[in-house]
């Protein structure tokens, strides 16, 4: 018999659409209505790891083992480590993050999340400049100018435009798309640029310069700005400033095109300042286009538990934070990490080659529902239930609105929470506590 869950949440991207209708039958999801292709693919499932597995060294084949064996071995690996890393978390619920932080404290580990390879730089910029932002509904109801800078929602956040930013209609924006000016700033003409009213092409690595030029013009110093900056003519820059200034409510969404290019987080830093300064003229907000559905949630949980948003080093018992020193890749690149647990995030696919090479040399525990490139470098693999599909709990949308996932079907595997609790218990036993 089919069961229908309405207003279900999508556990894929940072939009966390909460209007899905899920149809299940015999504990299987047979339909995910309203979800985009990306979301539906995740919800409908793929490549599950069936049972816990272990292997002696990275060249031998995995052998299926019991959960207890895998948990004991995972705990032994982590407990003996002097520089353990607990990495991932973006595809897990906040309830999992709390257990992870507790384990990191117990181990004296570094805990870091996948933001380190996407929007981590945005957090560094927030330390410098803050973050003038709002919930997405403010944009839906009010925005008449929307800028996508180094972000491409058509590809990465398919329903963002319909629900929140481009086509969405609201109280002061009854005309939807017709009442909005959409501007794309990017190094290449993206799919989003194709549907925009205006596309501004910035030379590779020049975002920082362009942002400064815009700020100079906005602050009445157009005279010092040269004829062209970062491949954009001064005329075009001035026009953009005029368009932005005359908005009633403007919003800027930035993506990895800005966080991962030359000057990195300083690009965001500069963009935040531009938005702050625009608020002297009219209303503006800025928001990172967060990728994984709960990468924002990890930052929230980690902040209230430790005071720091991510990349927290518990080696000395008290939290210490300094990305550039304490982020996952900082340690891996220096070959300092001597054991790692990768959970709800793929390091194998997204880390620089040197980091992955080091992971291939040290003991690695993977906790994940899915087979992925991290599995290739793992020694112990512990499959778990899928958060947001088989496990209920909390996630934070890209604008910091927290939402509760309901369970769609019964899990066939233990949850991350259960696994983390057991590993923590076992670590305490090993340490004689």
């Amino acid at each position: 018999m089919a069961t229908v869950i309405t207003d279900a949440l999508c556990p894929f991207c940072g939009c966390v659409c909460d209007d899905l209708t899920i149809v299940t039958e015999n504990n299987k999801i047979i339909e995910a209505k309203h979800a985009c292709k990306l979301g539906a693919a995740k919800i409908m499932g793929h490549h599950r790891i069936k049972a816990p597995m272990m292997r002696k060294d990275k060249h031998s084949d995995f052998k299926e083992v019991s959960y207890d064996e895998a948990i004991n071995e995972a705990a032994a690996i982590l407990a003996r480590s002097k520089r353990p890393l607990l990495y991932g978390w973006a595809s897990a619920l906040c309830e999992v993050h709390k257990k992870g932080i507790l384990l990191a404290e117990e181990l004296g580990a570094i805990i870091d999340n996948t933001a380190t390879v996407c929007h981590g730089p945005s957090t560094l910029a927030v330390h410098e400049k803050g973050l003038p932002s709002s919930t997405l509904g403010q944009i839906k109801n009010r925005a008449d100018v929307v800028v996508f800078w180094g972000s491409n929602p058509v590809q990465a956040h398919p329903r963002h435009m319909g629900r929140y930013s481009v086509f969405a209609k609201g109280f002061f924006s009854e005309k939807g798309r017709k009442g909005r000016k959409i501007i794309v700033v990017d190094v290449r003409k993206t799919e989003t640029a194709n549907i925009a009213d205006e596309y501004i092409q910035v030379a590779q690595g020049s975002d920082y310069l362009v942002l400064s030029a815009l700020r100079a013009i906005l602050s009445g110093h157009a005279d010092v700005v040269p004829a062209a900056v970062g491949g954009v003519s001064k005329e075009q820059l001035s026009k953009l400033v005029d368009t932005m200034k005359t908005a009633r409510f403007g919003a800027v969404f930035f993506g990895m095109g800005l966080t991962q290019s030359k000057s990195r987080y300083k690009n965001i830093d500069n963009a935040i300042s531009l938005i702050t300064e625009l608020n002297s003229f009219t209303k503006y907000v800025i928001m990172p286009m967060r990728g994984h559905y709960n990468v924002t949630g990890f930052g929230q949980v980690c902040s209230w538990e430790t005071g720091f948003a991510t990349a927290v080093d518990f080696a000395r018992g008290a939290p210490y934070y300094n990305p550039g020193e304490t982020a996952a890749n900082d340690l891996l690149m220096r070959k300092e990490t001597d054991a790692a647990m990768i959970i709800a995030g793929d390091a194998g696919a997204h880390f620089p080659a040197d980091s992955v090479r080091h992971l291939a040399k040290i003991p690695v525990v993977q906790v994940d529902p899915y087979w992925n490139p991290t599995t290739e470098v793992a020694n112990v693999v512990i499959p778990v239930a899928i958060c947001g599909v088989e496990v209920e709990g909390t996630a934070y949308r890209m604008d910091g609105v927290s939402l509760r996932f309901r369970k769609m079907i019964e899990p066939t595997h233990p949850t991350d929470i259960e696994i983390l609790e057991k590993i923590t218990e076992r670590v305490k036993e090993i340490r004689g506590e």
Binding site: S81, K82, R83, P84, L107, G108, A109, L124, H127, E128, Y208, L209, S212, A213, R215, A216, S219, H221, D223, V224, V225, P226, V229, K262, S263, K266, N270, S273, E277, F314, A315, R316, Y321, N322, P323, G324, E325, R334, K335, E336, D338
Partner: protein
């Protein structure tokens, strides 16, 4: 006069936090005292004696204490952190946070230093004969003030963000500097003998002199003609105009 000589006993891969290596901590202490001082290797609490051989000659206050370090210290962090007086002479490379928050005394290094050397430095002197990594003389994350006083000299090159949020003091780099030196400065002086890119962004106060080439100029400076400094003629710029900055940038 007290001289403390430190040599590594073994190769170290996991960085050691060793803020105890400082004239202030060693002054008046015996070999035994120093050997038992705390150090952290990752989450493992250890002692200086586990990692280093230590020899002490004489005894004296911090101002009369000299620490001679010979060997590879490229995985030893926080050497001389917060020191107020005395001397540290390092023959070799060192890890991050060398001389962070120091307010007096002098540290010299023959090799390279990793990031955040001279972080939030208030006084004293740091001489680096090799290269410096990122954030030389910068601040801590979120803090509005980096280096406030003292002097840092690098004979080699430095990477990005040197002197970020600098509020005072002086940094001289004989070689090249990475992007965005002197970012968000509010005082102090930076001299770069070699090349750099995007200097002085958001600078409110302070001076930056570049003797090499500037790869990319920030579009936020007002050209003020030329001016001679120490007999050399420079193009002079003031800015960053966005923050109504009174900073001065000289480019040869």
């Amino acid at each position: 006069m007290q001289t403390v000589t430190i040599k590594p006993k073994k190769e170290i891969r996991i960085s050691v936090e060793a803020e105890n290596i400082s004239p202030d901590k060693f002054a008046g202490k015996t070999e035994k005292d120093i050997l038992s001082m705390e150090a952290w290797m990752g989450n493992h609490k250890t002692t200086l004696g586990e990692l280093f051989s230590v020899m002490v000659e004489g005894s004296g206050p911090a101002a009369d204490t000299k620490i001679v370090m010979d060997g590879d210290f490229s995985r030893i962090k926080r050497i001389g952190e917060g020191m107020t007086a005395g001397l540290i002479m390092i023959k070799g490379n060192v890890d991050m946070h060398l001389g962070a928050k120091m307010s007096g005394g002098k540290i010299s290094v023959t090799g390279n230093v990793d990031s955040w050397a001279g972080r939030e430095m208030k006084g004293g002197e740091l001489i680096i004969e090799g290269n410096a990594a990122y954030y030389l003389g910068a601040g801590y994350r979120g803090e509005t003030c980096g280096m406030r006083g003292g002097k840092i000299t690098v004979l080699g090159s430095a990477l990005d963000f040197l002197g970020e949020h600098m509020c005072g003091g002086e940094i001289i780099v004989k070689g090249n500097a990475g992007i965005l030196p002197g970012l968000s400065n509010n005082g102090g002086k930076i001299v770069i003998e070699g090349n750099t890119s995007r200097p002085g962004s958001e600078m409110a106060k302070g001076t930056i002199i570049v003797n090499g080439t500037v790869d990319e100029m920030m579009p936020v400076f007002k050209a003020e003609g030329t001016e001679a400094v120490d007999g050399i003629t420079y193009r002079k710029y003031t800015g960053d105009v966005i923050v109504n900055g009174k900073g001065v940038l000289y480019v040869k």
